[in-house]
Every structure is written in C-alpha cells, then in structure tokens.
C-alpha cells in the first residue's frame, strides 16, 4: 500500500477544489496568504484567528493587528505563511480518524474516583 503526501492548507480543502488559493486571479493581487494566531491574554495559548494577505511577515503582523485585534482580542500575534502549513488530507479522514471512534476505553472514564476528588 502506498501513501501520497500532498501539501494542503486553508481548511484542508485541496487546492484544485478552490481552497487556499493565493494566485492573483482569485484575490486581485499577488501577495501570499498568511495564517494568523492570536493569544488573547498572557498564559493562554495562541489560537487560530483567520488568515489575510500581506507582502511580508512584518506587514502580516501589522495587518493582523488591524484586522484581528481591533476590539482588544489579543496581546500577542503569530503569523505563518499558509504554504508552510501541512494539513491532513480530508480524503484520508476515514483511515486517520475513524479507528478512534470505537476505542472509548481510551477515555479515562472507567476509573472509580474517590469521593474526596470533587472536580475532575
């Protein structure tokens, strides 16, 4: 059995089906697409906020600041060019994720907790 490795990004939709297109025809200019991750406050992790176009990393940070943190959403921004994100292939979802469905014993729900432990 052989596996094809393909680069996917932007919502796991394969490029030929319209996902993650960054060419000039679709977006009106030729700036690459960037994924934006925002940390909403110190101590929390960065979460994917969305994507935007920018000519370089610095502009991507500034665009992200203007587009995604206008309403005090964040204290830290990460950007990464979308093409550097490798995504799983939705067509392989069956073999990747379905085997986990019937393995409920992987959840720690079969332990008897002592009464003293209140918040689990």
């Amino acid at each position: 059995m052989s596996f094809g490795v393909r680069l996917l990004y932007y919502g796991d939709i394969p490029e030929e089906k319209g996902g993650g297109k960054t060419d000039a025809k679709s977006s009106g200019h030729d700036w690459p697409l960037w994924e934006v991750f925002i940390r909403s406050k110190n101590g929390l992790d960065h979460k994917h906020a969305g994507s935007l176009h920018a000519a370089d990393a610095q502009m991507a940070i500034e665009n992200a600041r203007d587009v995604y943190t206008r309403r005090m959403e964040g204290v830290s921004i990460w950007v990464v060019e979308s093409k550097y994100i490798t995504a799983s292939n939705p067509e392989e979802a069956g073999e990747l994720y379905e085997p986990a469905v019937d393995k409920i014993y992987r959840h720690p729900t079969f332990y008897n907790l002592p009464d003293e432990v209140n918040y689990m």
Partner: protein, 261 residues
C-alpha cells in the same frame, strides 16, 4: 485669558479631525481589505484624538464665556460649545488645521506620504507636549502618542515599500512628493498662538528632518530642497480642498440643526 490656548487646542483638534475625515474616504475603497481596515483604523484614532481636544476646548470656551471673557461661538441647537458644535458649526476660516492634512487622497502613494509626513510631525509634537504645563493637554498627548507611534511605523514602511518597490510605485511616490512637499514647511512655521505658547517648533523640525531623511533614504527617494512652502492653514486661510471636506462633514448638522441618530 485662555483664548490663545483655546486656539492652539482647536488647531490640534482640527489637524486630527480633518486628516481623520480624509482617511475615512478610503473606507470601502482601500487597495486590499487589510489596508482598507488599517487606514480606517487610523482614521478612528485621529477622530478620537480630535474629540479629546474638542471636548477640552469646549470646556475652556464655556468657562471663559461664564466669566464674560469671551463670547462662545455660535452653537445653534447646542446651547453652549460642545465637541459637536466645534466640529460641525465652524466655518472654513475658523478651522486652524495645517494645509497638509486637507489635501486630496490622490492615490495610495499620496495618502501614504501625507500620513507619513504628518504622523512624523505628530509623533515628535505629542512627545514634546507630554511635558506641557497644562495637564489635560499632556494627558491627551501621552494617550495619543501610542497610536501615533503605530501610524508612523506603518506609514514609514509604506514609504520604503513604494519608494524602493517597482518602477510604477516609485513614480507614484515621486509624484506624491511633488504634490505634497510644499505643504510640509507650514508644520514648523509658528502661528501667533504657537509663538505665544512657546511651542518649540525649531527642535521638532530637527527631529522631523532627521527621521524623514532616514526613511526617505531607505526608500531611495530624494528629499526635496529649496521648495517654496505654502502657509495659511493654521490661521484659517485654506486651500480650496477644505470647503469640500466641511460640506461633507457638516452637511447633516447644517441641514438639520441639532439632529441626532
């Protein structure tokens, strides 16, 4: 007597309001979505700054009026001076903004150059005003400085990007320089109220010159020399552009005095 100070505060407010209004014309027309949002954010920052200054000016005007020191300006539908009466009910001749901020948006290069030249001025000015003996002016300057630091950084990068970009972007920057440079000198030519308040425009000019030179150099753009500088805005003699801005800005209050929505 506060009228000198009131004039100066109105000058600061008018600068911010008019440039904010100009930039807002880009709303929905920016070259790309992200920059459309960036320029309108700057608009909102500037209009916010103008509100702070107008509110303070209105307070001083009303206090002076109560002491019979001055006649409050016409404030039909408002009773006394407010931030709104100052923005919506003064005429061209009463506006004290510098000529640079009222100039047309032109293309993106022109808007960026106008923003860069002005943000650079505002950056050093607010830094300087932070230690103004008037605590309110100092506080507004301190709060606004954070916003302006970003405007300066953002517009500097655009100057570099366009100046040192393609042949087309460079040509557009050169045209913008031709168009706007003549309005940059006025920033540092003191109006009577600035002289009376001892605003140190000479040292601001040195700082401004250095910063502008550094950025223009990085952008491989020439810094013009010996350009005749247009003046008059600070004392109410404007270019034809201001009237059009005010007719847009003030239409609702003029047509429906005191209207609210």
């Amino acid at each position: 007597m506060n009228s000198t100070k009131i004039d100066y505060i109105l000058h600061l407010a008018d600068n911010a309001l008019i440039l904010g209004q100009r930039n807002s014309e880009w709303c929905g027309h920016g070259p790309i979505l992200e920059q459309d949002i960036a320029i309108t954010n700057i608009s909102l920052d500037l209009i916010g700054q103008s509100r702070s200054f107008y509110q303070y000016a209105a307070q001083l005007i009303n206090e002076a009026y109560k002491l019979q020191e001055t006649k409050a300006p016409p404030a039909e539908g408002f009773g006394e001076a407010t931030e709104d009466s100052l923005a919506y009910l003064r005429t061209e001749r009463e506006f004290k903004n510098c000529l640079l901020v009222e100039q047309l948006n032109g293309d993106w290069a022109q808007t960026m150059l106008r923003q860069f030249l002005f943000s650079c001025y505002q950056f050093y000015l607010y830094k300087y005003l932070q230690s103004n003996p008037d605590k309110t002016i100092a506080a507004i300057a301190e709060k606004s400085l954070k916003e302006v630091s970003y405007h300066l950084r953002w517009s500097s990068e655009w100057i570099i990007r366009l100046g040192d970009g393609t042949e087309e972007s460079r040509n557009r920057m050169m045209t913008a320089i031709d168009e706007l440079w003549r309005y940059s000198g006025e920033l540092f030519i003191a109006a009577p109220y600035e002289i009376e308040l001892n605003i140190d425009l000479a040292s601001l000019k040195t700082e401004w010159d250095n910063k502008v030179k550094a950025v223009m150099e990085e952008a491989t753009l020439p810094v013009p020399e010996k350009v005749f500088m247009q003046t008059g805005g600070k004392t109410g003699t404007h270019t034809e552009q201001l009237g059009y801005i005010l007719s847009d800005l003030q239409y609702m209050q003029r047509a429906y005095p005191g209207c609210e929505w």
